[in-house]
């Protein structure tokens, strides 16, 4: 992997971030006047103007944009209308809970999805394969809120093994992590299976067979690294999404993460908080994908090398 490749990818990530910031800024202004939405309809015009001046929304839009970008660069995302705290603080205090749930969910997705997908591809058309496909279809079509409620009914109400809401103990983590994890595992298993099947049909896999290498080498050392690129792409999206919080699952299990904050912030018309959440989510997504790009270069020597380029 060349330094050029690294620099190009990092610059691209930065550009994405700038575009996102601009897009969010414009969207929030185009979607309607936040001041009018915040204030009751019969507020006198003078009061509206007063609020507008107070939040800096009386200036021309490009001035607002420059101010906004400048303050974002200073780490200032504005104030929460509600409690007058910095919006950034309101969001960051939710990050630990979101990370805990996100990584627990990711672990479940990886531990279930990867082996299931690999096994399905290796034992194509067997009962294992059919079970994995069924799991993937069902797992992805059952909505998370429904699956979450089923879990609550079984483990909290019938068996009384696990608490149904909150985040006080590790036991609280089990059900939301399973809900997120199994849903993503279904997608991951399908991707892994398709990617492995593609690789297993390649000519170089026949060479491995003809050389009499053990199946474990064949699958883990020869097939999986080749199949990894689409899988890693998928994982990048999953990770980015998990870091921005799980709106539905956090709501079902009353998990105090960014997802639930998003719901309350949107309902409460907290422009600054929503803006901060969108920015941080975009940052998470961009970082996850930058990481994916770097992993590509490490996984596939043809990517980013001087001679090979992206061609296969």
């Amino acid at each position: 992997m060349s330094a050029r490749f690294l620099i190009v990818r990092t610059l691209r990530a930065l550009l994405t971030l700038i575009l996102v910031v601009t897009f969010v800024f414009l969207m929030l202004r185009l979607a309607g006047d936040p001041i009018k939405m915040l204030l009751p309809e019969d507020t006198p015009a003078s009061v509206v103007e007063q609020y507008r001046a107070r939040w800096g929304m009386d200036a021309p839009i490009y001035v607002q944009y420059i101010r906004y970008v400048a303050s974002v660069l200073h780490g200032d995302f504005g104030m929460s209308f509600r409690d007058g705290r910095p919006a950034l603080q309101a969001v960051t205090e939710r990050i630990p809970a979101t990370l805990t749930l996100g990584f627990a969910g990711l672990a479940v997705a990886l531990l279930v999805g990867l082996p299931a997908g690999i096994a399905a591809a290796v034992m194509r058309n067997s009962i294992v394969d059919r079970s994995v496909i069924s799991f993937a279809v069902v797992g992805h079509s059952v909505p998370t809120f429904f699956f979450g409620i089923l879990l609550i009914m079984l483990f909290s109400m019938s068996l009384r093994w696990l608490p149904s809401s909150g985040s006080a103990t590790w036991a609280h983590l089990v059900m939301p992590a399973l809900t997120i994890g199994l849903w993503n595992a279904a997608t991951l298993a399908r991707f892994t299976r398709a990617s492995m099947l593609d690789v297993l049909s390649q000519a170089y896999m026949k060479t491995v067979l003809a050389n009499g290498l053990p199946s474990s080498w064949r699958i883990l050392r020869y097939a999986l690294p080749n199949a990894a690129i689409p899988i890693v792409t998928m994982l990048g999206l999953i990770v980015g999404q998990l870091l921005s919080g799980a709106v539905i699952v956090e709501t079902v299990f009353a998990w105090p993460g960014i997802g639930r904050l998003t719901v309350t912030a949107v309902a409460g018309r907290e422009v600054a908080v929503v803006q901060t959440i969108v920015f941080l989510s975009a940052l998470a997504m961009v970082m996850a994908n930058l990481l994916v790009d770097l992993i590509y270069g490490w996984l596939d020597p043809r990517i980013g090398s001087k001679t090979g380029g992206m061609s296969r």
């Binding site: 390649q202 000519a203 170089y204 026949k206 060479t207 491995v208 067979l209 003809a210 050389n211 009499g212 290498l213 053990p214 080498w217 050392r221 020869y222 690294p225 080749n226 996984l299 596939d300 020597p301 043809r302 090398s305 001679t307 090979g308 296969r312």
Partner: protein, 351 residues
């Protein structure tokens, strides 16, 4: 210690340890590989494809057998069958014995040993046959580690020696290269080095030069011939190019539509072809010394492998075909000179 000595010692051990010939192998005499009445049907979109039809063939120790035929005549299917590399849904009849072992009845463990140590195979597309994300040195070393129990360091050192053996330029520096950093010819040399790593008794080369430039093709063929002499291994060389086969083989088997229509010593086949198809192949080979306005072709196209012919499969394209050819499939007959032919009216008989 030279590789030649090593290989004999190794062969002896292998004979005793793994491939110990059963008493029934004695009548095989010099035959290393014996294929008997072997048929393969592969499932196709429009019914089964009868890719190999009752082929009997043998390869002697140290011999180079050339198999020639047009694309789609079942050559590659036959090669894959020798290493039991056919898909699970292939229907197989007949037997393949290697060194007294029934290839199709081996346990997966013994099959892995057969594939790694006894029979090696190289393929048509050398670039696509190497794993794109593993260094070439590692790929050779992996095989040595598995089958010879070498440590990674020793295996890599041995890989350098093997790359030298196959005349890879700057062998040591190539170990850490990825396949995309090598040329097609260098990839095929790597494949050959990998194939030779455990001193196989038989090397199956399935169209080894088809994807390469003509100059590289000649180099690879010379290399294969040299290595055969140095190491005393047998080779099955498969090609659609009669020129390639003629240059390298002791004996030629001509395949048409899943069957062997003629089989004899190379000079016999080239000088006095008996089957009209062989004659056609020879005539269709462009002659560099002859300026021709049009190239000679065999009329018609390769018979479909899905439909079983009633008579001779080559009959629709054969200029010497007679009524009998349409009705009765010709049997294989062995001539006094030891050549095998499947034709009702072999060339040079009536004249």
């Amino acid at each position: 210690m030279s590789l030649i000595e090593l290989s004999f010692e190794e062969n002896g051990r292998v004979l005793r340890g793994i491939a110990a010939p059963t008493p029934s192998a004695t009548p095989y005499g010099n035959d290393l590989l014996r294929i008997e009445n072997f048929s393969v049907r592969l499932p196709g979109r429009h019914g089964p494809i009868h890719a190999v039809r009752g082929i009997s063939l043998s390869v002697r120790v140290g011999e180079c057998l050339g198999i020639v035929g047009e694309s789609g005549c079942g050559k590659s299917t036959l090669c894959s069958a020798v290493l039991s590399l056919l898909p699970d849904n292939a229907q197989i009849e007949g037997q393949i014995h290697f060194n007294g072992l029934d290839v199709q009845r081996l346990s997966s463990e013994k099959l892995a040993r057969l594939r790694g140590r006894e029979i090696a195979m190289i393929f048509q597309d050398p670039m696509g046959s190497l794993n794109p994300v593993r260094r070439v040195g590692t790929q050779i070393a992996d095989k040595l580690m598995v089958h010879k129990g070498l440590s990674r360091t020793t295996a890599l050192a041995e890989a350098v020696r093997l790359l030298d053996l196959v005349r890879m330029p700057a062998a040591r520096g190539r170990l850490n290269d990825y396949p995309h950093e090598l040329s097609g010819g260098m990839c095929q040399r790597t494949m050959i080095a990998m194939a030779l790593s455990c001193q196989p008794k038989l090397l199956i080369a399935d169209e080894p030069t088809t994807a390469l430039d003509v100059t590289i093709q000649a180099q690879i063929l010379t290399l294969l011939s040299d290595l055969r002499r140095e190491l005393g291994m047998a080779i099955i060389l498969v090609s659609h190019d009669l020129g390639v086969i003629a240059q390298t083989s002791d004996r030629i088997a001509v395949m048409y539509s899943g069957e062997i229509v003629e089989e004899a010593a190379t000079e016999t086949v080239l000088d006095r072809p008996r089957h009209p198809y062989t004659r056609g192949l020879i005539d269709a080979s462009p002659d560099i010394n002859r300026v021709a306005d049009t190239l000679v072709t065999i009329p018609g196209s390769v018979a479909s492998l899905s439909e079983a012919p009633v008579g001779c499969a080559f009959e629709p394209r054969c200029q010497a075909a007679q009524h009998k050819c349409r009705k009765v499939a010709p049997h294989r007959t062995t001539t006094s000179s030891g050549a095998v032919i499947a034709c009702h009216f072999p060339l040079g008989m009536s004249e």
